[in-house]
Symmetry: D2
Subunit: 505 residues, 4 copies
């Protein structure tokens, strides 16, 4: 007999693959060497550097041709999974340079490192890597926004309790809740965009931190690597090789906080006690012992990873504190910190979107809860303020008493009797009736009255959905533009390489 | 006999007042109640809310007139220091509302709170407060940039050792160092600007989190409070009353990290051992026991406050994690955290600017150090690469040997003898001379050769200064524009109040 | 009309004073200068130091007598609130020394600081202060343990759902939950005790960090200040003036985490949806707008303060990282960090104890929930394993199916029909009956069967209560012993002072 | 040509292997699946559980025999590297249980999980794993103490400057510095010991969190797993599956802070500017471009890892905050956090010990520095206080002036002329001579006078070394005792298994 999971006969659908990967973490999965993901970026950087050295006459044509060929060989090997990083050679840079030297000798391979240092090289590699991952986060968030905005529309009229302090506050709709998260994640999108505008500058050419006397052309390498411009200081980005990491980690941390809040909210909504949201079997976990379990494991894991993000932020700040000017080896650890964090969190928006897309709501249960916990007391109070011009403070005292007296009769909506007793006690004579008291507490009615911008009434909510949708579309266009620019930088490099390779030495 | 400080006879100048306040911390200074600084913001918000309630017919003219008058009374009292917050009345909101109720009765004062909750009120107050402080940070950073750019210019040709790993790397100039920090702080400036664009939205009207049924006009209050627009969700900004705080705290944390790095760098430069920077007596502390002390206390305190910033960031993240939807009381503590942090750090850029403006450099000592620790080895290597087309890797091995052999003779620059021995060992015949070896290691010469963008050569450096200066000027204009917009919002509110007060009830 | 709070007519009891202080935070309350709380400790330290200087012949009798008298004067003034700290005099140390110099002249007052530095003085003051606060935390935790153990006993048989992943897991008792927290807080108690054993060493005599050439007697001052011994290195405790703070902050952080978990648990239990715990009105907050609110504000505030603790820990770690040997001014900020944290958290265990002592449980509601969410499925499975020797894995598959089939019939306990269908499908023939299926899922029955150490059965639980009670008693005795030792150190100092004052000069 | 490292021709010795591994981090090294290290612990736990189930009659002899044999098979495979964890099977627990079920069928293998859950199983595995690692840290710290105490002895009379605020304070010895760190690390040792006493309790038997109805014997499994006792609550340790991790991470964080401080101190001592410490080539790194470099990479990496530790602590705290009672999936991530941290830091004490054991000191350079920066001013002042009974405050003013006047003559020790001018200015007539001024500032003399406990005088220092040595020895004995207890628990399990296997079914 073969078993793979110790639970599941209760569930009607098998868990989603990506979901299982997300919640399994690193129990049975290894983390590859960090530099493995840098190979393509290190090569991109070296190709641009080599072409520039050639254009500047620092490396002669024939040598440059060999170096470029060698780098293409590494790319091929890498793509076939046949360029393992040799632990005897410190890092990705040494592995690649050694390959060239072993293949073409020191006289050729030994020229690639002219006018650069590992300090600017690793800063470059990380900038290229992070730039791509950062754009990925933008992409994932746009997808999550799409789910949330679709949900906000679909559930625009689905009544549920609104809470403050975990207590019943005022009736709202599930769509209103989802729109509020769409708004939060929109700010996250802007944070990732800000990352791009802060850090899309070319560190290559800073050399060890203090520049080089060789006649390099930093404008050219900027162009070939898709950067806006070369950094204006050779020193700044190398001393601060923790800041782009800390900036990204901050954007991730806030995004994860938003996800964790939505996760916690859904976790409570899916308890037996709240009971008005059910997750799809595809996004539930079971127990090794308890046969009845359908655990919201994905949502819990999101919370765990949020804590991971916070810690990475702490580490990056602490690492970057009180650093003496110039490169410090301390910075090397920023690589592992940010790579791990990206690995942990990059799928989180996707998992959340999938959970949202597949959950179901028990509208009846939700509606029943909208008649408990005196949740419509504020609406009744506002109706009285509106109809009888009662000062708010007086109206509030009135309804507080009405709640107390109604509660004494074991109800948890305000009764006409309770309100009458309060009116009498406060010496107020208002033309209210038993019917109006009931009507002013009808869940659908009260929601339909809250019409100011930002409120839950369907019309207002759908206008908000439109507004956020339009803004997300703008970001989507920005993202496409940036992606296209990177593609054209690559094309320009390809062209220059063709020139070089076709050149007679 | 009267003494105030237990040290100081050694110093020629008295410490700066602001500096003493900065380094004394909270030993002998109290922190006032946090809501004290919110009084003007709470009043601004209440005035805008009251005028709007009147315009919308929710509060009748006569009542609105009294409320506005009462709020102006509070302002006057506050400005005279005669509006202490009564601890028996929970917070600033209750204190002010109680004042109105006590003065005009529940029938008038009890109407101000119509269609709002403390939830949106405190969110509003904090947004207004943080918006001002955030613009202040922009202002302080622009001033610091001015100091750094002036320093970069003044010290553009002052040679000092450049370091990596705390070890001698390559000769640079003090101006080159300062320009690199100017570049770092420029990103900080952009971070504070980003805060403004993310959070300048009006939360007022969200009420308890779920809107109100009363016919409020959120566009109007936005206009009167200097906001771009009302928030599109009543819920989002209230649930996330930690995010604007965490965003600001992040901007502060990174800025403090940059300051701490510059502080640590200056601390080392002022040790007896490095000894080429001397701080002004005005920015030094003494010891209670050691008569000789001139301590860089301000720089150390900057490092301490950097650690404080990191912790506040941790707290705000942790506080905002996994929050159930809707307001949670937890958020109240975000107020104290961010207020304390602002208090600790707002003067830091100013103190740093003052320290930079008043320090002096021992150029001779600095120049001497530029001839030790084999600091010009890389320049010599690059000269050989350039002159003899030697592969970089080979040239590096050559110079490594030359260093080793020179060191064995107890020098710490490369000697012609050491180099010769290395050339022979490697079988290289290059037309080098004893003179050229000396010349290639001359500190001024080597710096003058590093001409690529970002490097320390004076021309290049001064162009970089110009570039950053131009960018700072743009930010300065942005700042003026934003400040003007807030002024005109206030003017618009004054006008509407005049209308109201002149209106016949 | 006079109002103090904008809510409350709903509540039957007024909020507790200490509770209001706890949840109001710093809105309307100032934080006094930090050194104010150090006055008594600074005086204790100076008295011991002065007596020692006299015994060693470093300060002559007549001068020592005056110094002691002056210090007693300061104590009197302080106790009458008439020794305000003058901000012109840096800190508590300078304030007190200046008092002596102003009163007795430099020739007398100027001798007290002989053979000490502010470095060892402030380390001493903080050690004395923290030692007291640390013992207070022990005291508060013992009181909380008492509440929890009383609750565990009182609610030993009160059935409630037990949860994992926020989902129904297995029925347990409220007493079982409370006992588990008693066990957690017991470890906290041991952490605070560990603090005492790590840091009860005398730093006085380290002087600036490197000792003094004057013939001081550190054994004597240790005795007079209640320390086990003088520190064996003059340097260690001064360089590490963040470690005792970080240790205490860690103990507080873990304690707060435990409190925050208990708080979150109670918050959920008091929602309308769970609804089986009701907090006393004395420990509830209201809303400024919503009339029905009874918010668990104290519990939320505990969570907020937990986040504050985490941040302080981050700050203390970051501040203490990579410090160059010897005193650094950075350390000054550790004072504010730990003092604020103590201020925020010292009442937290007390507030939690009060909340526990006064809450009430709706046993019927809790019992009803123990029949939902298939919460007894595991017990039924174990009964089958036990009665029919079925392999656990097979039994689990059986019950998973039974859950699925029962759920399809819209029940949320396992039905005999559902189980039969599962038995048939798996080809199992077990002598079960409809009655036994019901009986094996009876909430009281299932709890009574879980008898292993650690389980919820009353007998077992009450034995656990006894075991923890006995351990808490031991800690209580330790606490009394330590308190007595401090008292006798003070008495010894009083005696020596009497000798001195009665001595002829 | 083959190259492995891009630097090194300058160095006389090759870097140490362990050192290279330590500083290379994860660039070219993978991190294996986390559960891989848990295999032996999971098996130990399962063996103990199976034997107990058999003794209690829950699993029949024949089945128990097979289960035990199967577990031994897994051990053999694991030891041969032939038990890879299958990612299709969630975790180590499922992998091992599946092995048994595949080998012996569900009827046998399916019985092992009786009366336990993955919740208590993973808590158990982690407790066993962390218990071992924690004892390892004790072992490593004892080794580091040995190095430090040897160094304190060897360098007891080697004069170096003592610093406060990074400025020259008072002359001390290198031995005095090392002893101070020995004292700091001793507290670390006690922290790890405390971990053992807090967490050496058996969680097995808690099952899902709420116990089991099957008749298990938790005393027996405690005995077989080397625990003091079973946990007194089935729930506490499972809800708090972050606390043992956070406790260990705290101990590591403080230890790393101490290491980072020592690292930073050595980094400065090895700069060209301080220049009195030289690290062995075996513990230096080079540069990819700068030929002269001998970087203190190991010391920098220690600082980086310190920042990593702080972040892990933040994560663990945040993860453990506000957790609802009972197991939450969030806890799974505590495993990765603490495992990564252990991996990063376990070698740090060893690397530091090796660096200390192999460094060399330039005594002449150090001694020269002891005559600069007015470093002996305090000693001169104390000599005057002692010889002339001058009040300390007056003597300090005198010497402050003497420093000022001497400095004006460009010296940086106090001259007789400078002192005379100060004496005259203050109207003091003391019988000082030019000779005595010189003598009172002799570096060796001043150190020999600071004789109080904790001071740098050789006799005093060596006594301190003895005291710490004796205490370390006690901890060493404790460690041996604990290790022996674990061995005997294993032996007891072996014996019971022999009984079982020899038993007739």
């Amino acid at each position: 007999m073969k078993i793979e999971r110790l639970w599941g006969s209760r569930l009607k659908e098998s868990p989603d693959e990506a979901f299982i990967e997300f919640i399994s973490g690193r129990d049975v999965r290894e983390r590859p060497p960090c530099d493995a993901v840098l190979v393509p970026y290190d090569i991109w950087g070296s190709r641009a550097h080599a072409v520039m050295l050639w254009k500047q006459g620092i490396v002669p044509t024939e040598d440059a041709q060999k170096i470029i060929s060698g780098l293409h060989d590494v790319t091929s090997l890498y793509q076939q999974g046949a360029f393992p990083l040799d632990p005897a050679k410190e890092d990705v840079h040494t592995n690649i340079e050694s390959f060239l030297i072993e293949k073409y000798g020191l006289g050729v391979g030994g020229k690639l490192h002219t006018a650069r240092s590992r300090n600017d090289q690793v800063t470059l590699d990380m900038t290229l890597f992070l730039r791509d991952r950062n754009l990925d986060f933008c992409r994932h968030l746009i997808a999550l926004e799409t789910s949330l905005l679709a949900g906000a529309t679909a559930y625009a009229a689905v009544l549920i309790p609104g809470y403050t302090h975990h207590q019943h506050a005022m009736v709202t709709t599930f769509g209103h809740i989802l729109l509020s998260y769409a708004e939060s994640f929109y700010r996250d999108l802007l944070r990732f965009r800000q990352w791009h505008s802060l850090f899309n500058a070319n560190p290559l050419g800073g050399a060890a931190s203090y520049g080089t006397s060789l006649p390099i052309d930093r404008e050219l390498t900027s162009l070939l690597l898709g950067f806006e411009k070369p950094s204006v200081s050779s020193l700044d980005l190398i001393t601060n090789r923790w800041e782009a990491e800390a900036e990204l980690s901050h954007a991730i941390s806030i995004m994860m906080n938003h996800l964790s809040g939505l996760a916690q909210t859904l976790i409570l909504f899916t308890t037996t006690e709240f009971g008005f949201v059910t997750l799809s079997d595809k996004y539930c976990g079971g127990s090794s012992i308890m046969p009845q379990k359908r655990n919201p494991s994905g949502l819990e894991v999101i919370k765990a990873k949020t804590a991971v993000a916070h810690g990475v932020q702490s580490s990056l700040y602490a690492l970057g504190k009180s650093l003496f000017v110039g490169y410090n080896r301390d910075s090397q650890w920023t690589k592992y910190l940010i790579m791990d964090l990206i690995h942990e969190c990059e799928e989180a928006p996707h998992i959340m979107a999938a959970i949202l897309d597949t959950l179901s709501i028990d509208r009846e249960r939700a509606h029943d809860l909208c008649r408990t916990g005196f949740i419509t007391a504020t609406d009744l109070m506002e109706a009285i303020v509106n109809d009888y011009s009662l000062p708010l403070r007086q109206a509030k005292m009135l309804i507080e008493r009405a709640v107390k007296y109604s509660e004494q009769k074991n109800t948890d909506t305000i009764t006409w009797e309770g309100l009458k007793q309060a009116l009498e006690e406060m010496g107020l004579a208002l033309a209210l009736t038993a019917d109006s008291v009931i009507n002013h507490q009808d869940p659908a009615t009260v929601v339909s009255r809250r019409k100011a911008i930002g409120g839950p009434t369907s019309d207002v909510l759908l206008k908000a959905v439109d507004a956020v949708t339009a803004r997300v579309r703008e970001q989507s266009e920005w993202l496409q533009d940036k992606t296209a620019r990177l593609d054209s930088a690559q094309a320009r490099l390809d062209d220059l390489e063709k020139d070089l390779l076709s050149h007679k030495a």
